[in-house]
Structure formats: C-alpha cells, structure tokens
C-alpha cells in the first residue's frame, strides 16, 4: 500500500508542479495547495501505514496496545497542515492584492519592481 501511495504522491506533485509553472498566479495557488497536501501525505507515508489503530492509550494503561499507528509523523503533519493553511491564506491575499493594484493575474506582467526593457 505504501508504494502505491508513493506513486499517487508522485502524481500529485506532478500536477502541482505543472500548476505552479503557469502564468496565472491563481493556478500557482492551486499548485501550492496540492503540493502541500502531497508533502503532508509523503511525511505520513514515510512513517509507515498501520491500518486501523490510532495512537491512543486505553484508560488506566501505561502504554498503547501493540501495533498502533506511528504518532510522530501524525504530530508533524498536523501542524504542517495548519501552517500550510496559513501560507495558503497569505498567498491568496497577496494574489488578490496584486490583482487590485496591478490589474493582472499574470506573473510575467507583474513587473512593478523590476520593469522590463534594456538594463540601465
């Protein structure tokens, strides 16, 4: 199952990279969402997959039952999801702001900081 998931993650990355290379920065944002999901899934998968048992300890017990899922990647991924959301929200607002200020969504037309033309 891990290996199938690895290939699935590859497809997600490919789609995300293709989106991020687009002229339209909205597509870039879509790519960003997709690639952060792919990254989270990759971390999760690298910690191995254990069907069923969440890393919880029964009331009164001192340790979890044998064969529960690996808790460490879960903790990493959980915060990564929230951070990824923060990044996404900021990028989205930036795109919106760029559009209202510059009047375009095309990255090659956003050249207020580095105007094109022969170097001075």
């Amino acid at each position: 199952m891990e290996f199938l998931l690895a290939i699935t993650i590859g497809v997600m990355v490919a789609a995300a990279v293709y989106l991020m290379l687009a002229r339209n920065v909205l597509r870039f944002i879509f790519g960003l969402i997709l690639i952060s999901n792919a990254a989270n899934l990759a971390i999760f998968t690298a910690g191995r997959l254990t069907p069923g048992a969440p890393p919880l300890i029964k009331e009164g017990a001192y340790a979890p039952a044998e064969g529960v899922a690996n808790a460490l990647p879960q903790a990493l991924v959980l915060t990564a999801i929230v951070i990824g959301f923060g990044l996404f929200a900021f990028a989205l607002v930036l795109v919106y702001r760029a559009y209202t200020t510059l009047g375009t969504l095309y990255s090659d037309e956003m050249d207020a900081a580095e105007p094109k033309g022969p170097a001075q």
């Binding site: 290996f3 990279v17 969402i33 191995r48 979890p64 460490l72 951070i83 200020t101």
Partner: protein
C-alpha cells in the same frame, strides 16, 4: 593640503598621541637590536584557531627587525610631519587613525611567522591603504585611485591566499620557520609551480611590478606623508618582504630566478624611463619608487651573498632617501603651492634647510660617495657581474636604471633649489621644524651609514642576510672604497650617462612625452578591463535574474530533478521490483483513484470552479487516507482546513478574473515534461525511503512516556503540547504572523493610489 585650514590651531592631543606611541614602538624594537645583531632570533606565539593550524605567532630576526625599525622609525617622523602638514585639518583624527592602524598592520605583517596571520595583516595594509588613498573622499580621482589600488592588490592577495594555503598543505605547517626545513620537499612537489605563481601574483601586485605598476603612481592622490610612508618606504615593500621571507623556502629554481630577474629588471628600467618623463615631482618620485621595487625584486632572484647583501643594503638606502625626498617634496609643495618641475627653481635662498636635506637625500639616491647609496649601487653591480648566465642582461639593465635614477635625483633634489627663481603660486617660505626634522634625520642617516658602513653592516645587512640565507658568513662587507674594479668603472659610467641625461633634461623629456603619448597606457587598459567586467556582470545578471517567476520556478524544479534524480540514478537506491509486488494488495483503491483524478482535473481544468471543487475532493480523499491509517486527529484537521480553503478561495474568486484570457489555451508541453519528472523523482525518493529501515526510537519514547509522565492518553496531542511544545509555539507564532501580514495587506489602501496622491500634494 594645508591651505584653507586653520593652521595656527593645530591638531592638539590627536596630533601628538600617535607620534608618541609610534616613537615608543620604535624604542621597543630598538632594544632588540644588539640581541639580533649577535645572531639570535625571538619567537612568541598565541593560539588563534588551533584546529586550522592558524596562530598569532611572531618572529623577530634580522629581516623582520630591519623592516620593523624602518616602519616604526619612518612612521614616527611621518606622523610628526603630518601633524604640521595637515595642521587644523577638520578630519585629522580620522587621518591619524588610518595611518596608525596602517603602521600596526604593517608591523604585524613583517613580524608574523604564520602564513595565515601574515595574510590577515597583508589585507589590513591593503584596506588601510585604500582608506588613505581615498582620504580626500570628495575628489573623484582619489576615489578612483583608491578603488584601483584596492581591487588590484586585493585580487593579487586572493591569489596569494590560495598559494599560501597550498604551500601550508604541501609543507605540513603554516609556520614559516617550520617550512624552511621542508624547502627541498616543497620545491620537488608537483604543486611548486602553482604555489609560486599564485604567491608571486600577490607580491607583484603589492609591490607594483610591471604590468601591475600603474596603481602606484595613481595612489599619489593620497596626502604626501602617506605617499612617503605607504607607497614608498613600507607597504609597497610588503611584496618584496614576502619574497625575501619565503626566499629560503621557494628560491633556487630556474623558475624563481628567471621570473624575478625578468620582472624586476623590466620594471626597474621601464619605470625609471617613465620617471624622467614626469613634470610633477611627486609622480617622478613615485615612478622612481617602482624602479627601486624592480631592483629589489631582481636582487632576490639569485641566492648569492652579493645579491642578498645588496638587497639588504638597497632596502635600507631606498627607504631612507625616498621617504626623505617625498617629505621634501611635501615641504616644497607646502612652501610654494606647486610641485611642477617647470615652475620651480632657485628655492635654496628661501628654503635653505629643505634644500640642504634634498641635497643629502638626492646625492644618496644618485649613488654618489660618501653616501650609503653609493655602497648600495656598488653592491648591485657586484651582484650583476657575478650573475652567471644573466650577467650581461642584468648588468645592462642595472646600469640603465641607475643612470636614469641619477638624472631623476638631479631633477627632484637639485633643479628646484638652484638656478633661476621660478614663478610659483605662493611666495616661497621655509617649512616648520616638525616637517623638516623627519627628512633631515633620514637624509643624515644616509650620510652617517655611508661614512660608517660598519654600523649598517652589523645592525642591518648581516642579520638580514643571515635571516634569508641562514648563514651570516655569506654576508659581504660594506665598503666605501674597494679599490679600482669593475664596479667602480660601472659607477663612473653611470655618473657619465646620468649627467648627460640631466644636462639634456628638457629635450629628453620632450622626447619621452611624445613617446609616452604614442603608446597605449596601462591605466586605460585597466579601465577597459573594469568596463568589460561590469558588462559581463550585467549580462549574467540579465540571464540569471530574468524577473520572470515562471523561469525562476522552472530553474528551481529542474535543479531539483537533476540533483535528486541524478543522485538516485548514480546510487541505484531504488528497487522497483519490490514496489511492484505491492500492487497485489489492492486496498483503499478508491481513495487513490480519487486523489489522482482530482489532481489531474485541477491541473487541466480551464474553469475556476471545477478546479476548486477538484481540489476539495482531493483534500477529502487525503483525509480519508489519514482516517484509514489510524490518524483521526490529522484527518479532522485536514477536513476542517480543506473546508476553510474552499471558503477562502470562493470568497476571493468573487473579484478575480477567469483563469485564461478568452481564446487562449494553457497548454505547456515543456512544463509538463518537467512536472512529470518531478513527480517521478518524488515517487522514487519515497519508495527509496520506504525500502530503508525505520528508526522508531522517538516513537517508542513517546509511546512509553506519554501516559506515566505526561498524563495524556492521546499521544499525538501530548507530542504537540508537551514533548515538542516549543516547536508548536513556533508554529502558532508563524500562524499569527501569516494572518497579521495578510490582514495588513488587505487593510492597507492601494499603494499606487497613495503615491499619486502624495505626488499631487508635493506639487
């Protein structure tokens, strides 16, 4: 220049303190003189970066002590002189600080026994020299000259650093005193040629050998005492010093001999011709300094006793008369307002002490008896006629250079003071005593050493020869009269040719000016090199910094594919056979199919809503994977975030245009290839990771301690809020920052509109 300042006010405490300090340093070094003259050496060491073999170690022997005394002695006089020369200058404190820092760096350079320590001091002299040449920072010429000197000597210094590191690596130590016994091994090593070339690149640029000589005359933009100190008596001799210091380690090969002989001889003759051509006295002295540096380089080529004794003698001779003459020219400038050889004449009546000093120093420079300059010249000839294969070449070159020096000495030291009175901008007046004291003492020393050559021999030349050749017996004696011999004949020939040149000074100079104008100048060549460099920088910046986001991202992803994918291929880290076996356990197919389909739809959709919907589906499918494999916390978070993402995108979309312009297609085959490659590399890396062993030590620790020690039964949450709380704290801080920045972006008014309004208000 002193004009325009309140000279009467002086510089007070700031003016006197460095003079006293440097006099103290001079006295400190003077006390070692008897010990070193007796053949001893002193060495002290402090660890600096022991793991790198870098130490602050200092060695006092004949060579370094001679230099240290010249530096601190001349430094004292120069600081005394500057205090009057720049009396009342508003920035004298800055000047004195630079000059004093230079002196300390130079002392560090000549005393350092560690190659890396030596390099650090070397670069410090370059930096202080830069600051001093550019002291008059409002003059574009001074700034240009300062930068030119910095770039040229800095580039040479970098090459030298590479050479020194190679030398340290081959010799097994960075301590010069420990490299000397390794000399044969180093010379036999395959790295000897690169070491020599790199180190000579540093010494030749620093000591301004042709073709790197042009920075030195330009450096005369510095105030005159600086020229006297740095660009004549001390700093430019750093290159010569290093060649002398490494002489026992690197000399004795054909390559060393011929490189130094040819560069030194060509520099000496070429620049002494240029020296005669100058009408500015300071420029004439600058070019004659180049002649001296060339001669010193040439003298270091062989390993004979004559050569090294001549080197030691000429080193002292030149420092004494050249510093004195520079200071005299400063006095003349100060007293008359000009340094133009054509305007000056008959000054002896108005400036008798200056004229007297100039005469003493000039006679030493011309190499006339009974000055030490004569002894130096005799030794140079004694060396050249015994130079084996090169004897004819170096004798002719030395004769030409010395004859020209004779003429230049006359132009600088005699013509301004005798003959018809010239038409000077200021009424000539004598310089104050602090400005006369230095040059006069230095010039008198030249006479004293000439009359009592034993004094110089015992204290300076023999210990220096002992330091370079390792044997005091090889040192030759200094005589004023050695009988009628070839050297004497050559001296007489020198005087005859020099006298002739001096008599024909005006026509000779006119001829030289015409010849100089007809040949391409090194200075312009430098400008062309710099221009080419700027153009190349602009060109490569244009290529690398295209300002196009797509191109940047493409480069980043392509680099990722090449670097990571290439490594995987080389290391053969992925076993695909095992991966394919895994296909036989078909569980959770639906989620995977859903993810793949949604990702492809997002990538290919031309409709915003469809893309957002597909993204949502993909996110939910990922959440399903999390819940299927025992991660309820992650799954809940993923679902909630996915919901918020869709809400935000939907809100933003209300005021954003469509994805593509009408009638245009977003199909990019090149990007698609790269994207697929990225996906393949990521999959391969992940498969490689999955095939490796899994380290569960951390997980085990968390599992066994969560309940008994952290009183929590949800291990994920315990990791987040207890075990790794400091990480979580960083993460929530990031969230706050991201939200605040986005909030600020939203709430600020349109910046371009603001700017327009501001401009309107201004107008």
């Amino acid at each position: 220049m002193a004009a325009g300042h309140d000279e009467a006010k002086g510089n007070g405490f700031v003016g006197w303190l460095p003079v006293l300090l440097s006099a103290g340093i001079f006295a400190f070094f003077l006390q070692f003189l008897p010990q070193i003259a007796a053949g001893d050496t002193l060495r002290v060491e402090w660890a600096w970066a022991p793991s790198l073999g870098v130490a602050l170690s200092f060695l006092v022997d004949g060579l370094s002590l001679t230099f240290a005394l010249l530096i601190s002695g001349i430094g004292t006089f120069v600081l005394l002189y500057s205090n009057s020369y720049l009396a009342g200058h508003p920035q004298y404190g800055r000047f004195a600080l630079y000059l004093f820092s230079f002196m300390l760096s130079m002392l560090g350079l000549v005393l350092s026994d560690n190659l890396i320590g030596l390099f650090v001091f070397w670069e410090l002299t370059t930096l202080t020299s830069y600051l001093l040449i550019g002291f008059d920072n409002e003059s574009p010429k001074a700034r240009r000259s300062a930068l030119q000197a910095l770039l040229l000597t800095g580039a040479g210094g970098l090459a030298m650093l590479a050479g020194l590191i190679l030398l340290g690596a081959v010799g097994g130590s960075f301590e010069i005193s420990q490299l000397v016994p390794q000399a044969e091994a180093i010379k036999g090593s395959g790295l000897y040629v690169p070491i020599l070339i790199l180190i000579l690149a540093g010494t030749f640029t620093k000591s301004a050998q042709v073709p790197f000589h042009f920075w030195l005359p330009n450096a005369m933009a510095a105030p005159t005492p600086v020229s006297a100190f740095l660009h004549s008596a001390t700093m430019v001799k750093a290159g010569v010093y290093l060649m002398a210091r490494l002489h026992p380690v690197l000399s004795g090969t054909e390559l060393w001999f011929w490189t130094l002989t040819i560069f030194g001889a060509v520099t000496a003759v070429f620049t002494s011709v240029l020296s005669l051509r100058q009408d500015d006295l300071k420029q004439a002295l600058a070019y004659s300094t180049l002649m001296a540096l060339g001669t010193l380089t040439m003298l270091l080529a062989p390993s004979s006793g004559y050569a090294i004794t001549a080197f030691a003698t000429f080193l002292v001779v030149h420092s004494l008369y050249k510093a004195a003459l520079f200071l005299v020219v400063g006095c003349v400038d100060h007293g008359t307002g000009t340094r133009d050889a054509d305007l000056l004449g008959g000054l002896a009546r108005f400036m008798p002490f200056t004229a007297f000093t100039a005469a003493l120093a000039g006679l030493s420079m011309a190499g006339l008896p009974p000055f030490i300059g004569y002894i130096g010249k005799e030794l140079i000839y004694a060396n050249t006629i015994t130079a084996g294969d090169a004897a004819t070449f170096v004798t002719v070159m030395a004769l030409a250079a010395n004859a020209l020096m004779f003429a230049v000495a006359g132009v600088v030291a005699l013509r301004p003071f005798w003959g018809k009175r010239g038409d000077t901008p200021l009424e000539p007046h004598e310089a104050p005593w602090p400005m006369l004291a230095g040059p006069m003492v230095l010039a008198l020393l030249g006479l004293a050493f000439g009359l009592m050559p034993l004094l110089a021999e015992v204290n300076f030349t023999t210990p220096t020869v002992a330091a370079i050749l390792g044997d005091a017996e090889k040192a030759k004696h200094l005589h004023l009269w050695a009988g009628v011999n070839t050297e004497l004949m050559l001296s007489l020939a020198t005087f005859a040719i020099g006298g002739l040149l001096l008599a024909l000074y005006r026509p000779v100079r006119r001829f030289l000016e015409a010849a100089d104008a007809a040949t391409p100048s090194f200075d312009n060549g430098w400008d062309n090199i710099l221009d080419a460099l700027y153009r190349a920088a602009k060109w490569q910046t244009g290529i690398l910094q295209s300002g196009n986001l797509q191109r940047y991202l493409f480069t980043i992803f392509a680099t990722f594919v090449v670097a990571v994918g290439g490594t995987l291929l080389l290391k053969d880290a992925v076993n695909l056979g095992v991966a394919l076996d895994d296909m036989n356990s078909p569980r959770h197919w639906p989620e995977l199919v859903l993810i793949v389909a949604a990702a492809l739809v997002t990538a290919s959709s031309r409709s915003r809503m469809l893309a957002v919907a597909a993204l949502g589906v993909q996110g939910i499918a990922v959440a399903l994977i999390f819940i299927s494999f025992g991660a309820p916390d992650v799954a809940i978070t993923q679902l909630l975030v996915e919901t918020l993402v869709v809400v935000l995108v939907a809100v933003a979309m209300l005021s954003l245009p469509f994805l593509d312009e009408r009638g245009k297609n977003d199909r990019r085959p090149k990007d698609m290839v790269l994207a697929v490659l990225c996906g393949v590399v990521v999959s391969a890396v992940l498969i490689g990771v999955l095939q490796g062993p899994l380290d569960l030590r951390l997980t085990d620790f968390f599992e066994t301690t969560a309940a008994p020690e952290a009183f929590g039964r949800n291990i994920v949450n315990v990791i987040l809020v207890d075990f790794r709380a400091i990480d979580t704290f960083g993460e929530i801080a990031v969230i706050v920052v991201a939200a605040l920045s986005a909030y600020a972006l939203l709430r600020t008014t349109d910046s371009s509109r603001d700017r327009d309004e501001e401009e309107e208000e201004l107008s």
